[in-house]
């Protein structure tokens, strides 16, 4: 029996290949976008994790010298002999590859991804030329010397080796950058301040710095993936719903012939599961393609924005292809739940005639409206009160779902009003007919709404970030040239040399500190017009810089202000001295708190810190000659000088990369939405003929009808775009003002980009018009005999 029933059920798809295609393509597209984004995220996170594991970030506390100088082996051994279980790390770059030197004998367990397994030789690792572990690309970039061992677990562009080998390769004999503090320490330790007062302990933050810093970027990608998936599920839901409706006569007949409902439902579920498997497989493959096309740009963005190294090539990770398939199944289940529910409750005899897509679905419209209202009110309440990431996401969710639910009702009201206001009979019919199409198109339109809102929201956020960040760079990178000296003696020679040659020398010096219980970095700034002219504050007292220069004032960044609750005129205690907060400034991209003192106050608090970095103010045209002079006369290699214009160019380049990714995703989501519209129109086309035939019979030409179909699709897209714009702006606001603040501690000002929105609206209309073109053309070419069949019983 099962086989016979299954054949009867499956015959539907053979008769309706378009529906089958819609279902499979929708699901495959949804899965593709989701798993593509997941693949990118998984790849990036794996890279961060391997980097973090290499460096022990996040897991272990670290000790460094407060003056930023390397530690000596003697002070490392002194710590060990005082009972401190610490392990040394020396790192640096050689030919673009990051060399991380560890001591395998003292490194805490779990540190370093190198599994010295089969064939590994401790003797080889620890003596002679040693061994380096890394990915093939990183190993290839290194000069000959130590034995190269390929190890895919190591972070990209990184090699791991013994600390002795690293120091030899880097030419840094006896220099240790930092010490990793093992989690369990023996009893009877002397306090750190007695043994090594020059060291400061940086507490593990749980999760890598990179991970947290780049979360915002991944959040965007994930939001995109999720929305695209939602859009795809809308398509699938439509296709499944229609297929179930159309098969109701078959189901009724089968049940009348004695097939139990339960078996029918199981078979239909199996059929859908099979489709989910096929479509999910295609989707994962497509997702892989999308991810591998986008990954190089994403990697470049992350590298440039955050210094996070991500491999440019994709690995097939079971996590994401499994999750891709899972989400294909989950999405199918979600999309078909309602159809199954209706089928299960269907009385045996009621299944005969296909339910017309009518506009008289009054009760369900009221329920939908009430639900939308509740969600939107909840979103409004959350917008006023939301704090924290969970509330932020609840806000996003209720806002988007509420708007998607409200959209058909809004459009219905708008069309009804247009119908009332319209004068000509054609116009009146057009509005009425458009309104009648709404139920059949509303899923596709909701998909378009979400896609457009996501695009508006994310591009507003990214563009606001770009604008803020470039402004911030202008403020921060006020000096024309930045120079780093190798050691204090070098620094002195540098200062002596440049002082008569430039307008101002601005030392850049900092020391780690705890402010109001939060880790922070304290900077000492020289009182100079550079700061007075360029710095913008989020809030500040008048004469901020005078108050700071007087020695009693302190400036703090927004992160610190938000985390500690410190605001203007609050007192900050540093090294036993009190400072008053004179200003709060924006500090984007920085994970930790920051504070600025005047140079004299800083030197009094941190006498051991010698500035090695300097900002130099001079006419931009003189920069190249100064760089050359520094190299020739002071011996500071050009590599240690950074020219402001260069930094800015790099930053802008990075943003362009970001935009490439964002634009690509924008277009992809819009394509999916356009596809949803196309499929809905094609599905509706069969139902359209009886609706249009009377109008044709009464004297409208087919050409006219086809044109009106096209206009209708574009008009609906326009109306949807009009709803999508405020929704997208609300989305951007929620991302910038709630989610970002909760996740990263800073609030980005929101800027509007009307031209971008216009262009986006143009894309959306284009997508809708393209989607409607073929159905409209088909309609214009319908043979009269097909139209006439409508009127006779011999159809």
């Amino acid at each position: 029996m099962t086989g016979t029933v299954l054949r009867a059920l499956l015959s539907h798809w053979r008769r309706n290949p378009l529906q089958l295609f819609t279902l499979l393509a929708g699901l495959a597209l949804a899965t593709a976008l989701w798993s593509g984004v997941q693949a990118i995220n998984a790849e990036a996170r794996a890279s961060y994790d391997s980097a973090a594991a290499t460096l022990g970030e996040g897991t272990f506390d670290q000790l460094t010298r407060s003056d930023g100088q390397p530690l000596t082996v003697a002070s490392y051994v002194a710590l060990r002999r005082a009972g401190w279980l610490v392990s040394p790390v020396t790192e640096g770059r050689l030919d673009g590859v990051r060399i991380v030197g560890l001591d395998p004998l003292t490194a805490p367990g779990g540190l370093g991804p190198v599994q010295i397994a089969d064939g590994a030789d401790v003797g080889a690792f620890l003596s002679g030329q040693g061994q380096v572990f890394g990915r093939a690309a990183a190993l290839a970039a290194l000069p000959a010397g130590p034995e190269k061992v390929e190890s895919p677990d190591v972070a990209p562009d990184t090699v791991i080796t013994d600390i002795g080998v690293a120091q030899r390769l880097l030419g840094r004999d006896g220099q240790i950058d930092r010490l990793i503090v093992a989690m369990t320490q023996p009893i009877g330790q002397a306090p750190l301040s007695e043994i090594a007062p020059e060291l400061i302990r940086k507490v593990a933050q749980g999760g890598s710095d990179l991970g947290r810093l780049t979360d915002s970027f991944h959040l965007n990608l994930t939001a995109f993936g999720l929305l695209s998936f939602a859009v795809g599920i809308f398509i699938v839901n439509g296709a499944i719903g229609l297929a179930f409706e159309q098969r109701r006569p078959v189901v009724r007949t089968l049940r009348a012939l004695g097939v139990p409902l339960r078996r029918l439902m199981v078979l239909m579920a199996l059929e859908l599961a099979l489709m989910a498997l096929v479509a999910g497989g295609i989707g994962v493959a497509l997702g892989y393609v999308i991810a591998s096309l986008l990954l190089p740009d994403v990697a470049a963005t992350l590298q440039g924005l955050y210094g996070a190294t991500v491999a440019g090539t994709l690995q097939l990770r079971p996590v994401w292809w499994a999750s891709g398939l899972a989400i294909a199944f989950g999405g199918t289940a979600m999309a078909s739940a309602a159809a199954f529910w209706r089928l299960a409750r269907l009385p045996l005899l009621a299944g005969g005639s296909p339910r017309a897509l009518s506009m008289a679905a009054g009760r369900s419209a009221r329920v939908q409206g009430a639900l939308a209202l509740v969600l939107l009110v909840a979103a409004g309440a959350l917008a006023l009160t939301a704090q924290g990431l969970v509330a932020g996401f609840a806000l996003l969710g209720s806002m988007l779902i509420g708007a998607a639910l409200a959209l058909p009702l809004i459009l219905d009201r708008v069309l009804a009003m247009a119908e009332r206001l319209s004068r000509g009979v054609r116009a009146q019919w057009f509005w009425a007919d458009t309104r009648q199409q709404l139920p059949g198109l509303s899923l596709a339109l909701a998909a378009l709404l979400l896609a457009m809102a996501a695009n508006v929201g994310v591009s507003t956020m990214v563009s606001s970030f770009r604008l803020t960040f470039t402004g911030f760079l202008d403020q921060r990178l006020a000096s024309e040239l930045y120079v780093t000296a190798a050691d204090p003696a070098d620094a002195k020679r540098l200062v002596d040399y440049v002082t008569p040659r430039v307008r101002a020398v601005l030392p850049i010096q900092s020391a780690p500190a705890q402010i109001a219980g939060f880790p922070a970095e304290v900077f000492g700034a020289r009182d100079d017009a550079t700061y007075r002219d360029n710095w913008a504050f989020l809030s500040a007292n008048p004469d901020t810089w005078d108050a700071v220069a007087a020695g009693d004032g302190i400036l703090i960044n927004e992160q610190l202000s938000r985390r500690s609750g410190l605001s203007l005129n609050d007192a900050v205690t540093l090294g036993g001295r009190q400072f008053a907060v004179e200003g709060v400034y924006g500090d984007y991209g920085n994970p930790i708190g920051q504070a600025i003192l005047t140079e004299a106050a800083f030197e009094a608090l941190y006498p051991d810190v010698t500035p090695l970095r300097f900002g130099l103010r001079l006419p931009a045209a003189e920069v190249p000659s100064l760089v050359e002079a520094l190299e020739n006369d002071v011996g500071i290699p050009a590599a240690n000088t950074v020219n402001q214009a260069g930094i800015k160019r790099i930053s802008l380049d990075i943003f362009d990369r970001t935009f490439t990714v964002t634009t690509a995703l924008n277009i992809l989501t819009l394509t999916v939405a356009g596809f949803a519209i196309l499929m809905s129109l094609l599905t509706l086309a069969a139902l359209r003929v009886p609706q249009l035939a009377p109008a044709w019979a009464m004297g409208l030409t087919r050409r006219e009808l086809g044109l009106l179909e096209l206009v209708r699709a574009v008009l609906l897209a326009v109306l949807t775009a009009l709803v999508a714009l405020p929704l997208g702006l609300a989305l951007a606001w929620a991302l910038l003002a709630v989610v970002n603040v909760a996740a990263f501690g800073w609030r980005l000002p929101m800027f509007l980009f009307p031209l971008d929105y216009l262009r986006l609206g143009g894309f959306a209309l284009l997508a809708a018009a393209l989607a409607a073109l073929w159905p409209a053309w088909r309609l214009a070419r319908t043979p009269p005999s097909d139209l006439l069949k409508v009127f006779s019983n011999e159809r």
Binding site: A432, G699, T701, E704, P784, L788, E794
Partner: protein, 218 residues
Amino acid sequence: MLLTVTDLRKTYATADGDFDVLRGVDLSLDAGQTLALTGESGSGKSTLLHLIGGLDVPDGGRIVLDGTDLTALDDAGRARMRRETVGVVFQQFNLIPSLRVVDNIAFQARLAGRHDGAWCDTLAERMGLTPQLRKYPEQLSGGQQQRVAIARTLAPRPRLVLADEPTGNLDEAAAAQVLALMLELVTDTGAGLLMVTHSDRLAGQMQRRLHLSRGVIA
């Protein structure tokens, strides 16, 4: 003469080769005259009606309607004829589902630019549709829907009314009522009526009667 049809021919391509539906039909009708067109299923009577209504294009012959040669018109010209000169009542699906009854009745008249609100009200009233004006077609019975279709057809005061089994989907009582109303109103407006039917009883109520057999008038 309101309508003159000369040597009209129409051929359909079917799976079994070409099929000559009409093989030289001649026919004429005066204003105010009613004509029944009968014949077996497949005799070509619906096709003839469609050709006269400008809904389809013949392969040969001429149709002159109200002085205009229909066969010389293009798609847009035929559409104008449908709007302004002819009214068609089909067996089913005559109405525009998205419009209320009142708008359906006025639809063709407004398309033709000859909307007369008082006349529409009169039609609705005489068709007994006044209580149904605010409803949508799907909320009406089959007989009511056909009455709306007839009112709509007559609203622009067409010169010629074509009806293709207008009561074919109705029970006998409803059919009689609808037909009586249609004849009464057509006569009042002075239009010509050509009705396709296979019912001898209905054909008997018309002034003239032609029988179509195998594509020619018998």
